[in-house]
Symmetry: C2
Subunit: 156 residues, 2 copies
């Protein structure tokens, strides 16, 4: 396949987070370039965070390796080590099973973007570091629960 | 893991290509950032091509998805469609089993760089489009042969 025509790759906003949590990442824009280019073994996305936006809630994956490289702007990695400034060319790796939840936030006043790749697996559980929630994914879809598997509060 | 200290990730040159073929990619510089950051499920490398350099001989993978995004400079994708100019932000995908050999070349007068990710598998065969060669990799290492499995000529 020659290079992708990025103008034809849909720009997605929104998330599958339940209740009021979805709005927390509502400003994030993503292009699923790996999927658009016919890849199935890992996801590869270009993510743009406007000023103040979050990439995700802080989380870690049981089975899936993840890597990102910053493309533009000034972003911040938030993990158990605290806040780490990121600039273009910086690389972060998140090995499967390493229970150090991470998220990328944009504290700057301008857009920032990164390219992120994460393995696809038939099933997965990801754990959220700052709230009582996990997500379990399988062939039938995915679902959010409390960490003990019980339903989330209705007013989440 | 917080962001990688790229100054501490070794810059590798050279290749495992046999005979005179190794020199063809001798100018390529790579940092194996995925490996440095503890990832095992895919390789993630920052590749820098000085003026005139090649990323690889033109090849395709049977089992391994591959994606790249250009970070800097002016590069060129060479595949069965011909030559396609690439600039910063351009993305190319190479789905496993798609028999369209690819390589990145730098026809410009300055460095160019890209970030590339390819799945790790227990075994793999890659086929070279422009010469009678394949490489077969397994847990014991890897080896180059002609496409029919017979030895390469001694003067390759």
């Amino acid at each position: 396949m020659p290079k992708l025509d990025l103008a034809k790759v849909p720009v997605k906003t929104g998330s599958g987070y339940p209740g009021s949590l979805a709005a927390k990442v509502g400003a994030r824009r993503q292009q699923r370039v790996g999927e658009a280019g016919g890849l199935t073994q890992f996801g590869a996305n270009i993510v743009t965070l406007p000023a103040g936006a979050l990439s995700s809630l802080r989380h870690w994956h049981e089975k899936q390796d993840e890597v990102l490289i910053v493309l533009s702007g000034q972003l911040t990695l938030v993990d158990d080590f605290g806040e780490t400034p990121l600039n273009a060319g910086d690389v972060c790796t998140f090995p499967a099973g390493e229970a150090n939840g991470h998220q990328i936030v944009n504290h700057s006043g301008a857009d920032g973007s990164f390219f992120v790749v994460g393995t696809h697996t038939d099933s997965e559980t990801a754990w959220y570091s700052d709230i009582d929630m996990k997500v379990t994914a399988g062939k039938g879809g995915f679902g959010f629960t409390r960490k003990d598997g019980s339903p989330l509060p209705e007013d989440i």
